[in-house]
């Protein structure tokens, strides 16, 4: 596929500087793009990169365009597409050059195993070696790829995508357009035991998992079913790889949860919460809407909405940065303390020698 810069500009509503007839054959990041490729510059601080790119065209913001002209850095022979939101414009071109692979054709592979009373919507694809247990429901256009499993009484909404070798156990409910990547397990038993005579007796985990619309869950994740009631993940929430969601966790809408994070039982996240990688959240607390937790943090107490936390145990990010700075020079501080001790001892000695203590009358 090829497009001219002028054609792309018309598509994007961008203004062209340079040769609109330049032919574009592909897209690439600014530092690896080759001639014939289009790239973009989102951050005006990096305008220097434009003059070094080998790309044939660059999508940039007005601010970056002005900066290029002021600093006389406009590279000769490179067409510029000026757009309000260069990154988003670039993504549109990316999707144009790399359309999503076609959905697999509707139908049930003869090697799939489908249980009793299963309801399948129009256009459903069930791949080879897939298993759908009794009384499950797959919405219109939902796709199960090879070797994936859907348990009894589980309901998948329309247009879901269940990756190869993925496991959604019984009595879970997924909304529309949910994507679950390979190796992930939805609906495993919550980790609950009662101490009985020095042994751990299993507490039945009789609840389920409820996932909203447009949720995406990465590869190798585990989402446990509730002890009673539901573990819930709100619509629009996106979860990276190898994340652990324990029983009865409640996650709000449009949250972002990065790889290897773990959320312990019954904790509640508001909407638009961001948890960076390898975060641990204890059970039975609340993370307010819009809160952010930095990478590798350990959160042991509830967090108010809209605040940013960092560290183990987590503090307000400003405070934690001061703590990190203080820790970084802690060996020096200890030396200072030792030196002060000596100076004080010297002062005390001097005073003892030179000053007559107050008379005890």
């Amino acid at each position: 596929m090829t497009r001219t810069v002028a054609e792309l500009a018309a598509l994007l509503g961008a203004r062209v500087e340079g040769d609109g007839g330049t032919v574009i054959e592909g897209v690439a990041p600014i530092d690896t793009a080759s001639p014939g490729e289009l790239t973009f510059l989102a951050n005006p601080r990096y305008t220097d990169r434009v003059k070094d790119t080998r790309a044939s065209a660059v999508i940039i913001s007005s601010a970056a365009d002005t900066a290029l002209h002021e600093r006389d850095l406009v590279p000769p022979g490179v067409a510029l597409l000026v757009h309000d939101d260069p990154y988003y414009a670039f993504l549109r071109v990316l999707t144009l050059f790399h359309p999503a692979p076609p959905a697999p054709p509707p139908g049930i592979d003869p090697r799939a195993t489908v249980g009793k009373r299963v309801q399948l919507g129009d256009g459903v694809h069930v791949g080879t070696h897939c298993v759908i247990d009794d009384d499950a429901v797959l919405g219109k256009g939902t796709v199960m790829l090879a070797g994936s499993f859907v348990g009894a009484k589980t309901v998948l909404g329309p247009e879901c995508l269940i990756g190869p070798n993925t496991t959604v156990l019984r009595e879970c409910t997924l909304g529309a357009r949910v994507r679950i990547h390979p190796g992930t397990v939805i609906g495993s038993d919550g980790f609950g035991y009662a101490p009985v005579g020095g042994k751990h007796e299993k507490i039945p985990q009789v609840g389920g998992v409820t996932i909203g619309d447009d949720v995406e869950i990465g590869a190798g994740c585990t989402v446990d079913r509730a002890t009673m009631g539901q573990t819930t993940i709100g619509s629009g929430t996106k979860i990276d790889n190898l994340v652990q969601i324990a029983h009865n966790v409640q996650i709000g809408e449009d949250c972002i949860i990065i790889a290897q994070t773990a959320i312990a039982g019954s904790t509640k996240l508001g909407d638009h919460v961001t948890l960076a990688g390898q975060v641990g959240i204890v059970g039975h607390i609340e993370i307010g809407s819009g809160a952010t937790v930095g990478a590798q943090s350990g959160v042991g107490k509830s967090i108010p909405p809209g605040t940013i936390w960092l560290g183990t145990p987590a503090h307000d990010i400003g405070h934690q940065r001061r703590i990190y700075a203080a820790i970084s020079s802690l060996p020096d501080h200890v030396k200072t303390i030792r030196a002060l001790e000596k100076r004080i001892a010297a002062l005390e000695e001097q005073l003892a020698v030179h000053i007559v203590p107050p008379a005890q009358s």
Copy 2:
């Protein structure tokens, strides 16, 4: 299913206060229970919650019952079931209302693949797309769910449950009633290489994995086989999701290991050890029986029996809490040090001005 409060009390050996004829249709936690449901209160500190519950009946302890009466908080129209162990009593009712799903019927699915000389006990269930390799043994009543794999010469005891898409590799030995949740891998090669000329040459991992009775291993875990000998997990131990157990680790009985913990090679855990979430334990050390390690801790040295550790590097929990407190106010301590420096300098200056130094005779 419904039961009256009187019927449940008889079953549990509980004393009823209020209307024994109250009809119970289900169970729920105290804060989400609806009319017609039974709940429980285990912790007398939370007696306030009883007056706000919408449940029709509450299992409570004598102590909580007394507290309710003293504070006049007994909610009208709510039946109380007084029992020595409200949580355990509640679990019995939970199991009554939510019996375990029936075991899948005995038999080998025609789409399962079973190798040569495999021994299958009575009542074994081997689901669709399961694979059992040559010379494996499945004890009486053991269940392999869809797509699970059991390797050559591996022995599963009676009444084990192997979840869908789970992998137990060759030459592993599982005891009775072991439950392995989906996505987990038992018997992967230990991570061992010998440096040879700047390259890493694989060390054959020729040992196995031995798991005792009544062990439960969550979803997405990895348990490596031993280099030589056995990686062992003692009877009654329960392991949460996404836990890593390296080669030649020895885990005792009735341990609790929470999600995303990793135990490095050849480390030995006693009995009744508790490792909280995201803990890391280095190789070749010993964690004494009854020891507890707090969440996200990093343990680099052996731990005596019965002690509690926290932090990276881990300290005794009392000491670590003092460390955390000191760290939390570390920026203030640094300011104090700076202020003390100035005050000492001022004192030194004052003394230099006002005191004649000792004559050097």
Copy 3:
């Protein structure tokens, strides 16, 4: 299988002390070896262990041999094989006594599902319930074990081993002799979203994953495909279990990455980098060749080649050890600060009483 000590010594090029006719039936670590078994001692510091071993023969270095004789610790009846590299020699004997299980026979299991235009090299084994999607290529002698998945247009080099229930998605490229353990997912979508009106819009992940020769990837790992271009893992690199490699990460050759480590997007590792367990590396930085990062560290900035880092945030290991020491006694330091404050206040008071302030003329 049995071998005499003299036969083994000839094979290894080792010098025998003691009875060359001693018959060896197996191998074991020094502390668990039984009569009839061979063991080894790599570290001369542990020569004491030789006198306590029950093994019939021990491979040791010249240095250890000398130390044993000097300290008169040579155990009677134990044959010694003196060799320059006892560990490597031991591994050769280990491999002799425990040869790798025979490769599964060439052929495509009738229950495997193979797509269109798939190219299969000579001697390929495709196990039961495996899936190979359209246009994939498997090199000569490559083995796919039961239930594994290879996506469309993916290319596996010769003699690769893909474990049971493993998933290699579309358009990935693996070199020769790559081993992927069960449950691992190669080529899952990178975690990329663009904020659009308070929602997270998925950024298409159109790149791939390129893996060099002789790479080994443990169980339960996730390696994301690039947004554009390739996520790459260099030849000879070894990765443990449950490791997360994000989109566009570039890993050099012969690196060692231990369990539960996560590397965020676009970060670049040089060659011979070692990352210990549970390490987190932020995105868009560089880890220089030969660098080492200690367990549980959090790395937020680029690291120069050949350096060793530890802690969260990570510092040079020497500095971090001083920090850990200072933190360990931080509660004491705080007490000292409090005591110094009091002593200074006392000094200030004494001086105020005894010294007439300078006259303000």
